[in-house]
């Protein structure tokens, strides 16, 4: 049987989300776009801190393709979905990953970032509870650049 690497993603700086008493209003650079995107998906529900991990490089070379892994805290019951938001992108809602057993609450993908920002990952449990974490990412070259001459 062939076994493959855990995620195939490189070793990289893993930054855990902020410590306790996390609230949206405390999020640096929380944008109106993010608020609207969260409202659209979760209504008035607001996340607690924790229950989800976001793994991403803290310094990104090119925002056109950024490796991320989102996973729920394995010590808790599995959530029904994991969500990823990029608050400063033209569209803050990045992706939602829906999970049914026997799938694990974990996925890896590559995303676009239009500039330096605080990424936000959420776990959503079937009882309606939400958990969140945020990670600050510095982007050397943003995605979505229109002007060729700015793309050196």
């Amino acid at each position: 049987m062939k076994r493959y690497g855990h995620s195939g993603l490189p070793r990289r700086a893993v930054i855990q989300g902020m410590a306790a008493s996390f609230t949206l209003s405390l999020m640096p650079r929380a944008s109106a776009g993010l608020e609207a995107a969260l409202q659209a998906r979760f209504g008035d529900r607001r996340p607690d801190t924790g229950g989800v991990e976001l793994e991403v490089s803290s310094l990104v070379e090119n925002g056109n393709s950024v490796a991320v892994t989102v996973r729920a805290d394995p010590s808790q019951p599995s959530p029904s979905a994991l969500h990823l938001f990029m608050p400063r992108n033209p569209e803050p809602w990045g992706t939602s990953f829906h999970i049914q057993p026997p799938a694990l609450a974990e996925f890896s993908t590559r995303i676009r970032l239009s500039g330096s920002q605080d990424l936000m990952a959420l776990a959503e449990w079937s009882d309606g509870r939400l958990g969140a974490t945020a990670v600050s990412v510095m982007v050397t070259l943003g995605a979505c650049a229109d002007d060729l001459y700015g793309e050196f």
Binding site: G115, S116, M138, V139, T140, D147, Y149, G150, F152
Partner: protein
């Protein structure tokens, strides 16, 4: 190393010789230069005179506006100065280090010296990678929309000179 066999305006002239040369907008005004350098024809910005290592008089008699200069310097399709230089443009996270740090340039250079370095840097140093922003002379294979056009207009250069002349290291 300069690129071999590359015709660069002013290459064979000493700074002292250059002092006497006037660059002209018109072909008539530019005749002397053309004869000396055998460079191609092309539009140019206003007539200016290099005195010492500066250009004393504003190009085309324009008055520079520092605020407009800041915009020209920041705009990617115009000056795009921070691609090579450190500048007080806090909206751009990363600034290049190809050219000197300009955050306090006014403490080192006079407006006349800054003007020469923006407008006609290679008149002073042909091997520099910083092109002449006010000249289209001696250029090769320029893409259609830019053919015969200097990189910046007289007014834009004066605006940039005015802004750079205000930078003393105090701006964020």
């Amino acid at each position: 190393m300069p690129a071999a066999g590359m015709p660069v305006p002013g290459r064979k002239l000493s700074v002292i010789e250059m002092k006497r040369i006037r660059l002209g907008r018109t072909r008539h005004g530019g005749l002397l230069l053309l004869a000396l350098l055998a460079s191609g024809a092309g539009a140019d910005c206003a007539t200016f005179e290099i005195v010492g290592d500066g250009i004393t008089l504003p190009l085309g008699g324009q008055t520079g506006n520092p605020e407009a200069g800041r915009r020209v310097a920041a705009e990617r399709q115009r000056g795009d100065c921070s691609i090579c230089h450190q500048l007080p443009l806090p909206n751009d996270h990363f600034h290049g280090n190809v050219g000197p740090d300009l955050t306090a340039i006014s403490t080192r250079l006079t407006p006349a010296q800054i003007r020469l370095r923006v407008a006609a840097n290679r008149q002073m140093n042909p091997e520099s990678v910083m092109p002449d922003y006010c000249s289209s002379r001696g250029r090769h294979e320029v893409a259609g929309p830019y053919a015969g056009e200097p990189i910046l207009t007289d007014q834009e250069i004066e605006d940039v000179v005015a802004w750079l002349s205000s930078l003393d290291g105090s701006a964020p």
